[in-house]
Amino acid sequence: METAVIYSIKPLLAIGVSLIAALLIFLTGERSRNLRESWTILASVIKFTIIASMVPSILAGNVIEYTVISIAPGLSLQFRVDALGIFFAITASFLWIITSFYSIGYVRSLKEHAQTRYFICFAIALSATMGVAFSANLFTTFLFYEIITLSTYPLVAHKETPEAMKGARKYITYLLGTSIAFQLFAIFLTYSAAGTLDYSYHGIFNSVRGHGVSDTFLIITFILFMAGITKAAMMPFHSWLPAAMVAPTPVSALLHAVAVVKTGVFVVVKVVLHIFGINLLSQLGLGTALAYFASFTIIVASIIALRQDNLKARLAYSTVSQLSYVILGVALLTPSGITGSIMQIVLHAFGKITLFFAAGAIYVTAHKTRVSELDGIGKQMPFTMAAFTAGAISMIGIPPLGGFLSKWFLGIGAIEAGQIPIIIVLATSTILNACYFLPIVHRAFLKEATDSTDKNSSLVTRYSSIKEAPALMVGALVLTASGAVALFFKPSLFLDLARMVAASVTGVN
């Protein structure tokens, strides 16, 4: 495939549009809520349009580049949009549109305070996410990575209760602390050894290995990277994610199921493929080591999820587990493994955002947060719970939901890599997923509501009254659930992009 470099300002526009929106939201403030919210919607739509307009030329095998400023040797603010970047960007920006509508419904129903701050931080976080997706070097990645951390802190601390502040403190300690102590250190080591931070399809360490760069050095750098990219929530650095669940649900839905955590795994993928390169990692045996590390997280997080009664906590541990699928896939270092890994980014996103949306809808309507309180909720909120079921099935990986695809490719990848134990991990995890999701569905639809005091009257109301969340919210979650279904039947766009990524780094079409 011929690769042509197109110079275009579009990547910068895609990042800038939500920054401008943040400014407009700030200027509008509480004076006119509708105007304020329209900025969010407008920005999300424009952002998605800009990103979508880049897709055709990426699919044609080109990359889009834009250098904002070259600060010093090795330090330039530069964007390069390739298949992997556009894949992540389009996922996040599409879901931002839906989340924006959902957010509006959510914060207005609950009459949340500090709504202006909420929408500003949301817009900045999305800008930074695009920045990570499009970054052409580790410096740009690091810069936007930190901006995400800082801009989402106010969202996690949103409620400003002691509990929220405690969760937010944990959040920032983990994310900022490890990124400075480990990730930044790894970046320093990388630059010092390789003399560049630009991503390369063959891995920048590949060419310098043996030229004064020892294997021990490479292994240490790799470990520092993996320890420093805490957003990927790999154990033992995962506990910030459950703590972040004190945030309002749309935040958990988009940021802690899609944007923030996917940024983490995205950077892991970048480091594996473009900094070290698959040849080097397989020679050093680091791919296998990483795969087993990820497997450990997959299984253990699922087991912890089993015993969470709080719905959002259960979803959070499920996210911890599912994120490691991405890492697992890329660590297999085979074309199908990489394809499965990248597909998991979008498939998990649609599934998990639906689940969170449903959790938020339940909270807004019925004020319930615990799994044990959900008996019979399916009759009161049929649409929500149907969508929830779809999301759960996608998580488990049963056709015809999208989640099946990534597991399929991951399984093939494991066979390609000759790692049969990984197949067992995938199977075990599927069973565990079923164990913690299906009881919720069971409770919602098949159990009678037991706790209500007015049991006699509820017999009447149970049949007649459907009390759903506001339309904006239900619409959003139905849309994402249908997305999860649609991705099973028409995954071609994403699959093509994922295959391009795999082909570009392995050289196999």
Partner: protein, 498 residues
């Protein structure tokens, strides 16, 4: 006219200091304008000097036309031209800022304040411009004496703090002078360029080794380098806010400059690195300074005291960069001198504005301060993030070079400590910033300023706000221009053997 710039930049503030007294007798209010005008001229001259140096190389200005070994020469190369711009620019910004804060803090001493302030600037600029070790001592004392007086006029505890500083500072000056004396005994010269020619033959002489030791210890006291930092936190905490801002951002940096001059100009780099392993000693002390400064800063509730301890750590950064003895590290150190001057000025100015408006320096009383003073707190945030080293603020870029320098010379402990201290800085600033933006519990008592109720925006006056914003914008833009600054100025300051 412009060829006399090296001396004019010192004469103008010196004369202005004297004339200020006369102007003050006539119209008290004019002192401010007069000072600002004088310092504005200094900024102009310093930029002109930097321009000449960048275009034509080192300037040697012979005072009174006397040739160097006998007469005093002002020698300005890239390093001190760069430092002159920093010091004169910060002095101008702080002078602009000082108007209302001094009117409130020292209403009866306005004339004296500006006179002393100009003398302090004269001293610092003189230290930077001169190429003569004894002349440097004279300016060091001018700056120090003016500094003692300016600190002493601060709050109730300032006289004691200043007295401690006087004692320590005088010991430092004595050590420096003794060092100069020994050098003169050994060589018969006081001119830096001349000394650097004469000294290599005498590098095994005990007198010269003693002189070097005295000079280094003397300067280390002046720049508050660990473990000789004891005077600094008290002095900077209790001084008037404008004074703290200026001294904090420039005095220690000028000390670092003198240290670099002695190590690499008066003595040859190989002497400081190999003959006496002074760089190794300095490096490990710098590690201790970074850790000590950060750890002490965590426990502070007084914002100015907190920042003072951070300065001790920042001095450690600069010395560490110099001590690793390679191009990257040195570049980082010089860049950090610039960045730290801006960061410290920004933070101290913001802290001063907060104290001006709310009467408190206790960070626990900063709850929800952002509602009341959005611009000041935003600037404080920028400064804080820069100290932590979050890109794109300038603090990241100097740390980048410092850590790469440490890695280049395989000093893993140094690199690790730098990053660890960044983490500690993050802890320090996050505590304050969370309080500013999320502090929900209003502290009872007269000093409470935030609270849950509607807080009316009540910003500092424009003459304070403007300098603060300049500094905050400076922090952001210096980050983007750091590559340019390095390639056009800093790379020429690196000693040739690195």
């Amino acid at each position: 006219m412009i060829q006399h710039a090296p001396v004019l930049i010192i004469i103008i503030p010196l004369l202005a200091a004297l004339m200020n007294l006369i102007v003050g007798l006539w119209r008290k209010r004019l002192c401010y304008l007069f000072t600002v005008a004088a310092l504005g001229t200094c900024v102009f001259l310093s930029v002109a000097i930097l321009d000449i140096v960048a275009g034509h190389g080192t300037i040697t200005y012979k005072l009174g036309g006397w040739p160097p070994p006998w007469g005093i020469a002002y020698v300005i190369d890239h390093l001190n031209a760069f430092m002159l711009v920093i010091v004169s620019f910060i002095s101008l910004v702080v002078a602009v800022y000082s108007k209302v804060s001094i009117e409130k803090e020292l209403p009866e001493k306005i004339i004296q304040f500006y006179t002393l302030f100009l003398l302090l600037v004269t001293g610092l600029l003189g230290i930077l411009a001169t190429g003569d070790v004894f002349n440097l001592f004279v300016f060091l004392e001018i700056a120090s004496l003016a500094g003692y007086a300016l600190i002493a006029v601060g709050d109730d505890r300032a006289p004691l703090a200043s007295f401690n500083y006087v004692i320590m500072g005088t010991i430092g000056a004595c050590f420096y002078l003794l060092g100069v004396g020994y050098l003169y005994i050994a060589t018969g010269s006081l001119n830096m360029a001349d000394l650097s020619q004469l000294l290599p033959e005498l590098y095994d002489s005990r007198v010269v080794l003693g002189a070097f030791a005295f000079l280094m210890v003397g300067v280390a006291i002046k720049m508050a380098f660990f473990p000789l930092h004891k005077w600094l936190p008290d002095a900077y905490t209790h001084a008037p806010s404008a004074v703290s801002a200026f001294i904090a951002s420039t005095m220690t940096k000028v000390g670092a400059y003198v240290m670099i001059r002695i190590m690499f100009t008066v003595f040859k780099p190989y002497f400081s690195i190999e003959v006496i392993p002074v760089t190794a000693i300095l490096g490990w002390l710098a590690v201790a300074a970074m850790l000590y400064g950060c750890i002490r800063a965590i426990a502070q509730t007084d914002v100015k005291r907190m920042l003072s301890y951070i300065i001790i750590a920042e001095v450690g950064y600069i010395v560490m960069g110099v001590s690793v003895g390679n191009r990257m590290g040195f570049t980082g150190a010089i860049l950090h001198i610039l960045n730290d001057a801006f960061m410290m000025a920004c933070l101290f100015l913001a802290a001063g504005a907060i104290e001006y408006k709310t009467g408190t320096r206790n960070v626990h009383n900063f709850s929800n301060l952002y509602k009341k003073m959005p611009v000041t707190t935003a600037a404080f945030t920028v400064g804080g993030l820069s100290i932590v080293g979050i890109p794109p603020t300038c603090g990241f870029f100097s740390k980048w070079y410092l850590v790469l320098g440490a890695i280049d010379s395989q000093q893993w402990v140094f690199a690790g400590t730098l990053l660890f201290s960044s983490l500690l800085m993050a802890v320090i600033f996050f505590k304050v910033l969370v309080n500013i933006y999320f502090g929900s519990q209003p502290v009872s008592g007269a000093h409470s300023i935030g609270g849950n109720g509607a807080v009316v925006m009540d910003e500092a006056p424009l003459s304070m706000l403007f300098p603060i914003c300049i500094m905050a914008v400076g922090i952001l833009s210096l980050g983007f221009f750091s590559g340019k600054i390095i390639s056009s100025v800093i790379q020429f300051t690196v000693p040739g053997s690195f």
